[in-house]
């Protein structure tokens, strides 16, 4: 029986010839990532003093202040300062601030490599699977253990194989693939498991699009969302100066606990309705819903291709006077690239407000919360009750195109009707 890429990576990381789903293994961690909101301030800073008061390998630790940047209150400012000072005290040179949401910054800075174990104090760390890394979220105390030992225990997951075949139609995007998959598998349908996305549709996607899919694997409860390493992966890594890394691919006869097969040609724009990421509907079926805020951004839906798509749809159009559209590019690099390409100007001309790269809007911390009775259509990853502000507000998740189209009409809109 062959092995899945997850089994191969975990075998290597635990120094064993072979491991199989269900085994408990102690792995060496390649990158330990902390953010500001759940990093050193929670449990870690106080307790590490009693555990040797140093990190096991400062070169393998990355700290990114992204949730509370720019700070909206003195308390938030104090947390960012604390995080910055902590990084310096413990010799962590890979410290980023105001650079963008951590998962995008991790990828851009070459801290997520194929075959590596990347653990971070944010659940969407699983995005790194788009680059073939075994990447997953952990809590702060678990991070404390990793920081002092460089290791943690993992149960080798079973894998669900999700195959997408054929080409996407015009107006349909990777985000729709992501939402459709979650709608089928369910909010807890992949709990404890690895999800492996494959098929010619996936191989045909650029890295920006792939990341929008693996980012949301946790919304099905998955431990990791993996994608095979191919030419697109290699090109992306070459673009940031990285050419050497191990490649682990799933064997043809690897064992999967479940298999799904979807036809991309038949897919139409999807939205996740309040208050569940798996409450997925065709966008055209909820087009009666009026929106107050349209959000284009986050580690899921704020990459250059997302901004490009929204700009192409909004070029020469104006957003509805009843809608405020907020745009937060997923990193400073993306902000600059979108500016150079003229996309930000197009969005601003249409009436959108361009924000700093930040996690703030997605998780209701600053820069654009919603009030009671308001509805937001968002290209981000989670629509739990109260997440973006008032618990009496409503959040729909859709693709960047659906967000842009909805901003124009003032109600949830299938973008194909405007293309």
């Amino acid at each position: 029986m062959g092995k899945t890429m997850s089994e191969k990576i975990l075998a290597h990381a635990s120094g064993q010839e072979n491991v199989a789903a269900g085994d408990i293994v102690w792995v060496d961690v390649d990158r330990a990532m902390m953010d500001d909101i759940l990093g050193p301030r929670v449990e870690i800073a106080e307790k590490i003093k009693l555990l040797g008061d140093k990190v096991w390998d400062s070169k393998k630790v990355v700290i990114i202040s992204d949730h509370y940047t720019p700070p909206a209150s003195i308390k938030q400012a104090e947390i960012v300062k604390f995080t910055r000072d902590w990084a310096e005290k413990y010799g962590v040179e890979k410290y980023f601030e105001f650079a963008g949401p951590c998962h995008q910054v991790m990828a851009e800075t070459g801290n997520v490599l194929p075959g590596s174990i990347v653990l971070g104090t944010d659940s969407h760390t699983c995005m790194g699977g788009a680059l073939g890394a075994f990447a997953s979220g952990v809590g702060s105390t678990e991070m404390l253990g990793i920081l002092v030992t460089g290791k943690t225990w993992l149960k080798v997951p079973q894998t669900i194989r999700v195959e997408w075949k054929n080409q996407l139609a015009k107006g349909v995007t990777a985000k729709d693939i992501s939402l459709k998959t979650i709608g089928e598998i369910g909010h807890a349908g992949a709990t404890y498991k690895a999800v492996e996305y494959t098929g010619d549709t996936i191989h045909g996607l650029m890295m920006d699009e792939r990341m929008a899919i693996t980012n949301m694997a946790v919304e099905m409860g998955a431990k990791v969302g993996m994608m095979p390493v191919d030419e697109v992966t290699k090109e992306y890594l070459k673009g940031i100066g990285i050419e050497e890394y191990p490649i682990y691919q799933s064997d043809k006869d690897a064992e999967y606990c479940m298999e799904y097969c979807f036809d991309a040609e038949k897919l139409i724009p999807q939205v996740a309705c309040p208050d569940g990421v798996d409450k997925v509907a065709d966008a055209e079926d909820v087009s009666f819903t009026s929106v107050d805020q349209a959000y284009l951004g986050s580690c899921t839906g704020g990459r250059l291709n997302d901004i490009r798509q929204a700009a192409m749809l909004l070029k020469g159009r104006k957003i509805s006077k009843n809608v405020r559209m907020l745009v937060s590019p997923a990193s400073v690099n993306i902000w600059k690239a979108a500016d150079e390409a003229g996309y930000l100007r197009i969005l601003a001309d249409a009436g959108a407000v361009i924000l700093a790269p930040t996690c703030g809007v997605c998780v209701g911390l600053h820069s654009g919360l919603i009030a009671s009775g308001e509805t937001c259509i968002s290209s981000s990853n989670r629509n739990f009750i109260g997440r973006m502000g008032s618990k009496e507000g409503r959040i729909f998740l859709g693709s960047p195109l659906t967000v842009a189209a909805s901003a124009v009409t003032g109600r949830i809109t299938d973008p194909r009707t405007l293309m």
């Binding site: 408990i24 449990e43 009693l50 702060s140 105390t141 030992t149 909010h187 409860g221 739990f384 109260g386």
Partner: protein, 168 residues
């Protein structure tokens, strides 16, 4: 034997981390933020929870964020143990790591709010004293029981690293 005895506070499916720890209050410390715990599901929760209570839910408890503030808040408010039909994986690990046993029990749906429970963690049994019934729950694997016995991941690390490394 590790046993927990207490009153059940019972909730349904998909009690996620945004409900347990609303993100807007996370800049506060655990003590202050705990006043807002479970706001979207049960605003009375912080007032009605008493030390020793057992938090019971149905499917997919703790889905969403990796925020350890969720189990830390439950711990701060006095929750001694968490029982659910199923757990989201990061929340599950976080509960264990902060020293709250997390037990999967397929019959958790039969428990009602206010029922008195007595749990034998090593045997994997939950006695419902109110309903005079007994349910099976998961027996935790040995490596997790070691963490539970120590009182949490920090205590486990303190004990083990302290024994092995003279510089700690």
């Amino acid at each position: 034997m590790i046993s927990k005895k207490g009153r059940a506070l019972k909730y349904g499916d998909n009690i996620n981390t945004d409900i347990i720890s609303p993100p807007q209050y996370m800049e506060l410390g655990i003590a202050e933020a705990s006043a807002y715990a479970m706001q979207a599901a049960d605003p009375e929760f912080p007032k009605r929870v008493k030390p020793g209570d057992i938090f019971v839910a149905e499917n997919n408890l703790g889905s969403g964020s990796s925020r350890e503030t969720s189990p830390l808040t439950l711990k701060y408010l006095g929750i001694s143990c968490v029982v659910a039909k199923s757990f989201a994986r990061i929340f599950y690990r976080n509960c264990i790591n902060v020293g709250i046993p997390a037990l999967e029990c397929p019959q958790a749906g039969e428990i009602d709010d206010g029922d008195e429970l007595e749990i034998d963690i090593e045997k994997g049994s939950i006695k419902n004293l109110t309903k005079a019934d007994v349910y099976r729950c998961d027996v935790l694997p040995a490596h997790i029981m070691e963490i539970i016995h120590a009182g949490g991941m920090f205590e486990y690390l303190y004990k083990n690293l302290g024994n092995k490394r003279k510089d700690i």
